[in-house]
C-alpha cells in the first residue's frame, strides 16, 4: 500500500494537473501549485474519496500545504478508524 504522502501527492497531481514528482510537502496548494478556490473544494472531496473519510470542510480548507494535508488526513484516518500506511 502506498503511504499517505504518496496518495496525497497523487490526488493533488490529478486534481491540479501537475507532475507528482514535483510536489513537495512544503508546497502551498494555492501559491505553489496554483489551486483555485473551486479546486480546493475538489481536493477535499477527492481526499475524502481516496481515503474513505469524512472531513469537516472548514477545517479541511484551512489546511494550506501538502505536508499539512498529510498530517491532517493522518489524524482524521486515526480518529475515524481508517487503516493507513504512514
Amino acid at each position: 500500500m502506498a503511504t499517505i504522502e504518496e496518495r496525497v501527492k497523487a490526488v493533488t497531481a490529478r486534481v491540479l494537473n501537475v507532475d507528482p514528482a514535483e510536489i513537495k510537502p512544503e508546497h502551498y496548494f494555492a501559491v505553489d501549485l496554483g489551486a483555485e478556490s473551486v479546486q480546493s473544494v475538489e481536493l477535499v472531496a477527492s481526499f475524502e474519496e481516496e481515503f474513505g473519510i469524512e472531513m469537516e470542510e472548514e477545517e479541511a480548507l484551512a489546511v494550506e500545504t501538502v505536508g499539512g494535508a498529510v498530517e491532517f488526513i493522518t489524524r482524521i484516518c486515526r480518529r475515524q478508524g481508517v487503516q493507513i500506511e504512514e
Binding site: V41, A45, S46, E48, E49, E57, E58
Partner: protein
C-alpha cells in the same frame, strides 16, 4: 374570536419546500398578499395567533406581532383554528358559531371552530393534543373545502389571484410619479401607482389583459414593459424588464431581464438579463447574470418536480419553471431545468449545461456535482452580509433555525455529496 393558524405537519409542509424550510406556509404569497393576509381578511379576525414547527419558532417570533406557539392562545375565547392551505376565497365558514371540525382525506384538520363553552372538554396545553381531542369530540363539517396542494399551485393561480386582489384592494389611479413619455395601455382604472412610486420615461404599462399595481416607493426604470396582471412590491426596482403577465414581485427586489408568471417572495436580486418563468423564488436569493430557467418541455408534456430528491411528482401542468429556496445564489450563465428544485442556502456554479433537477439545500454545486463546498459557516457569513446591506439583521435565532434545516436536509445531501465525489474522480 381568535384566529389560530396551524402549520405543524412535516409531511404537508414538505409539499411547499423549499420556501417553507424557513417560514410557515401562510407566509407564502399568491397575488398581492400572503395566504395569512388572505385568511385574516376573509375571517375579519383582529386577534390572531399561530403554531409553527418548533425549530423555527424563535426566528418567526422576531418577524411577527402574533403570539407564536403559545398554549395560552388555545384558551379564553371562541377559536377558529385553520390550516393555511385552505383557500381563503372558498372559506365561507362563519368565524363564530357552534363547534365543528373539517378534516381532509389524510386526516389533516382543515379548520376547527371551537366555541368557548366547549374549550373545557379539550386539552389546551399542546396544539397537537388539542386538535386530536377536537377530532375525536367535535361534530364533523362535511362541506368540501378547496386547499393549496403544492407550492406550484400558488404560482399557477397567480394571474387570477392578482386580478381578484386588485379588485379587493379597491385602488386605482396614479398617486406616485410617472415621467413622460410613458404609456399606459388599457383602462386607467386597471392601474394603480402608489404614493412614492416612480415610473421613469420610456416605460409601457399594459393593463389590457389584467391590472397592474405598483406599490409604494417602487421604481420602474426605462425600457421596462409591465403586462398585467402584475404586482410590484414596495421598494422594488425593475430595470429594463420584459415583465410578462402574472408576476408578483415582493418587497425590495431588484429585477432585470425577462420574467413571466412568477412569484418572488422578497429581498431578491435578479438584476441582469436571463429568463425566469413560472418560478417561485425565496428571499435573499441572487440570480447571476443570464441565469435562465426552462418552464416548458420540448414535448409539451406535464412537468415533474423532484421535491424530496427522490421520486418525481407530476405537477399536471406543462408550465412549471423552478423553485428556489432562501439565500441561494447562482453564478452567471446558470441554466435551470424545467421543474428544477433548488434548495435553500445553495450555491450554484454553472457549467454551461442545464443543472440537475434536484439541488439540495446547503449544496455547493461545482462542475455539475454536489459538494460540501466551503461549508455552512461561509453561507451564514454571506447571509449576514447580504441582509446587512438592506438594513436587516441575521440573528442567533436565524442561525439556530438554519442549523435545524441543515440537519434535516443532511441525509439526501450527503448521499449526493458521496455520488459527487465519485463523479469527480472521473472528470
Amino acid at each position: 374570536m381568535r384566529l389560530i393558524l396551524v402549520d405543524r405537519s412535516k409531511e404537508v409542509r414538505s409539499r411547499f419546500h423549499p420556501l417553507t424550510l424557513s417560514r410557515p406556509i401562510w407566509e407564502l404569497r399568491t397575488g398581492f398578499t400572503s395566504l395569512a393576509e388572505k385568511l385574516v381578511a376573509k375571517t375579519g379576525a383582529a386577534d390572531v395567533a399561530c403554531f409553527v414547527p418548533d425549530y423555527m419558532a424563535a426566528a418567526y417570533r422576531a418577524k411577527t406581532a402574533w403570539p407564536v406557539n403559545d398554549p395560552a392562545t388555545l384558551a379564553g375565547d371562541d377559536l377558529l383554528l385553520v390550516d393555511p392551505r385552505v383557500k381563503a376565497e372558498s372559506f365561507s365558514v362563519s368565524p363564530t358559531g357552534p363547534s365543528e371540525i373539517a378534516v381532509d382525506d389524510e386526516g389533516q384538520v382543515l379548520y376547527a371552530r371551537v366555541a368557548r363553552v366547549d374549550l373545557g372538554a379539550l386539552q389546551t396545553d399542546d396544539v397537537g393534543k388539542f386538535l386530536s381531542a377536537a377530532k375525536a369530540r367535535l361534530p364533523k363539517a362535511n362541506a368540501p373545502l378547496p386547499k393549496w396542494e403544492y407550492i406550484w399551485h400558488l404560482m399557477l393561480a397567480n394571474p387570477e389571484q392578482l386580478s381578484s386582489d386588485f379588485a379587493a384592494a379597491g385602488r386605482h389611479g396614479i398617486e406616485g410619479a410617472v415621467e413622460e413619455p410613458s404609456a399606459v395601455r388599457g383602462a386607467k382604472k386597471d392601474v394603480y401607482i402608489a404614493p412614492g412610486a416612480r415610473v421613469h420615461p420610456m416605460v409601457v404599462i399594459d393593463a389590457t389583459e389584467g391590472p397592474v399595481y405598483i406599490d409604494e416607493r417602487a421604481v420602474i426604470y426605462p425600457f421596462t414593459r409591465i403586462v398585467g396582471p402584475c404586482y410590484i412590491g414596495k421598494e422594488s426596482r425593475l430595470i429594463a424588464v420584459k415583465c410578462h403577465e402574472g408576476n408578483s414581485i415582493g418587497p425590495s427586489c431588484r429585477i432585470g431581464g425577462e420574467i413571466e408568471c412568477s412569484i418572488i417572495q422578497g429581498y431578491t436580486n435578479k438584476y441582469h438579463e436571463g429568463f425566469l418563468g413560472h418560478a417561485y423564488v425565496g428571499e435573499w436569493v441572487n440570480l447571476g447574470a443570464l441565469t435562465t430557467n426552462s418552464d416548458l418541455k420540448n414535448d409539451y408534456s406535464p412537468v415533474s418536480v423532484i421535491m424530496h430528491g427522490r421520486l418525481p411528482i407530476d405537477t399536471g401542468s406543462n408550465k412549471v419553471g423552478c423553485l428556489i429556496g432562501d439565500h441561494t445564489k447562482t453564478s452567471i450563465g446558470t441554466f435551470l431545468n424545467t421543474g428544477a428544485y433548488v434548495g435553500a442556502m445553495a450555491i450554484i456554479m454553472a457549467t454551461g449545461k442545464p443543472m440537475q433537477k434536484f439541488i439540495p439545500s446547503f449544496a455547493w454545486l461545482l462542475e455539475g456535482v454536489v459538494t460540501k463546498g466551503f461549508g455552512k459557516g461561509q453561507l451564514y457569513k454571506t447571509a449576514r452580509t447580504v441582509m446587512g446591506r438592506r438594513g436587516c439583521k441575521w440573528t442567533d435565532a436565524d442561525e439556530t433555525m438554519w442549523d435545524a434545516v441543515f440537519e434535516f436536509t443532511k441525509a439526501r445531501r450527503d448521499e449526493l455529496i458521496k455520488k459527487g465525489r465519485r463523479a469527480m474522480q472521473k472528470l
